[in-house]
Amino acid sequence: MSEMRGKYLRWTICLAGLLTLLMGAVILSLSVGEMNLGFMDIFAILRKGHESMEYTILSQIRLPRVLLGIAVGGALSLSGILLQGVYRNPLVEPYTLGISGGASLGVAFAIVFGLHQLIGSFVLPAAGFGGAFLIIFVVYIISTRSGRVNIQTMLLTGVMVSFIASSSMMLLMAVTSSENLHGIIFWIMGSLDEPDMSLIYITLILSVSALILSYLFVQPLNALRLGEEKAKHLGINTDLAIKLLFLMASLLAGVSVAVAGVIGFVGLIIPHLMRLLFGTDYRILLISSFLSGAIFLVVSDVIARTIISPNELPIGVITGIAGGIAFLIMISHRSIRSINRSR
């Protein structure tokens, strides 16, 4: 059965490659910044510990960003691949379903009514998550009302609810003071700068556990490639799988948006790239999407904070522009390749 080993061997090599790239991205992110540290020095600084200024920079500023980058990049990308699997539509991403709209609305609400000044800094992520959760809840209830899940209804509901949420946010922005407006826009643009370390750990734990949990749905996802009815014919309880996967993907995106703001494109482009590289088997797509999303966001963050140093660009700008261009290049390459193949 050399063919079998061939497939699994290829996957193992690819995973090792991605892990190496992730290590590289982490080291790059730790060493580059206002104060450049040598690759080799990082380990020495960490071992020496505590007192030095380099240690403080690493442990208080750079490491948290790297961890959050891994957590959010992985979560958004995993969320994207799960949703694309459920909807069998490569254009669906976490934000299509109104999750970012809901989170933004929640945050805008909190800022406009001054809740963050009254209660504390954790209010913004909480409001973001609350908004996202509300949207997920509405979409879920509307589209599963009849007992059976209708995927098309679910998608349309998500898109429509998304419009309502973002329009409501526009409404809030139109009537509020310019100071609040600035706060809202700043939050929407997204950043990996999160002062609260425990929030970072929670996000990281959630996104890694979701990755592990998602592997329990590898069979339904693989069977759903053939369509809902044919997956049922293969003995898969598609209704249950679709509901749970939708919830898992939405919560992942909701948490990401709540902590890091609206970082677009990761959930769309990374799953696409993984499909181009690895095909359609979710056994490899889930983990590779997670790792690549993490790499992509960590590297994007390095670019965002170095390109106009000492100032920082919003990371969403980098993921959008760099990701979009890379994606166009990939697509044109693929069409060239498939032309060659069909000859």
Binding site: E3, Y215, N222, A223, L226, H233, L234, G235
Partner: protein, 275 residues
């Protein structure tokens, strides 16, 4: 002889179309066909048997046991379904066929075993699709995809194979090839086959039992000789046909007459009556 499938007093359907009083049996090891005009309820019946459409009343027995008492996984281990169109897209033929092993895997079986690969290979060779195994499904022709679909269904190692118009969009080479593969399996392994089929002559040639469906009810059932009489066909299809036996197999075969020919015959009859 025991029945692999028995449908008893089944009724089901949609708000505008109902199937009712459906009763028929498929003996173990038989090769049965469901025939009928467009919109007669063939596909609705098929969807009821495959469990996609809930029943309003009646029951479906699989080897004497109510189909409801089977879990989805158990159903998939006993009944394999080949749909009319196979949309497997960008996956290799081998990966597609291996999906037939899903009903035998639990959540934690992430990798196919050697046994899975061997079973898949066996049925790919049997359906002559082994040579395409590394090609993408989307690169195959319609007939080749249908064969891969059959290989995938056989990889489920079912007791009963259900097919929805397996030959409807294929040329005669592929039609006959696919039906021959099914016939051979039916003869050699005793696999029971039930297919929805449009082409009455193919149905007559290959099936040992036919169920003629019309307007949501069963019109006639029995052997091809019993079902495919010109009275039944003209009644159900509202079309003039002539039946004769196929000189090779002796099975009934249908001939159609064009409007022009029919008019000429009528004129000739009228003339002969005048004179």
């Amino acid at each position: 002889m025991s029945n692999i499938l028995a449908i008893q007093n089944l009724s089901c359907g949609y708000s505008k179309f109902q199937l009712s009083d459906i009763n028929f049996e498929v003996p173990k090891g038989s090769f049965a066909g469901i025939i009928g005009p467009n919109g007669s309820g063939k596909t609705t019946l098929f969807r009821a048997i495959t469990g996609i459409l809930p029943l309003k009343s009646g029951q479906i027995l699989l080897s004497g046991k109510n189909l409801k008492s089977f879990s989805l996984r158990q159903r998939a281990q006993n009944i394999a379904i080949v749909s009319q169109f196979i949309e497997a897209g960008d996956m290799s033929v081998e990966d597609y066929v291996l999906m037939g092993r899903i009903p035998y895997h639990n959540r934690f079986n992430f990798f196919e075993t050697n046994e899975d690969f061997e079973i898949a290979r066996k049925y790919m060779e049997l359906t002559d699709t082994w040579r395409f195994k590394d090609q993408l499904m989307s690169e195959l022709s319609g007939g080749e995809q249908q064969l891969a679909g059959i290989a995938r269904a056989l990889t489920q190692q079912p007791e009963l194979l259900l097919l929805d118009e397996p030959t409807s969009h294929l040329d005669i080479t592929h039609q006959v090839h696919i039906l021959n593969v099914l016939q051979q399996l039916n003869q050699e392994t005793g696999l029971s086959v039930l297919m929805v089929i449009h082409d009455l002559n193919l149905a007559s040639e290959y099936c040992d039992r036919l169920i003629l469906v019309n307007q949501g009810r069963i019109h006639t059932q029995g052997t091809p000789e019993e079902v495919l009489t010109f009275q039944h066909i003209e009644d159900v299809y509202q079309t003039v046909v002539v039946t004769q036996n196929n000189p090779l197999s002796g099975k009934p075969a249908l001939f159609l007459a064009s409007g022009k020919v029919l008019r000429e015959i009528q004129e000739r009859l009228a003339n002969s009556q005048k004179s």
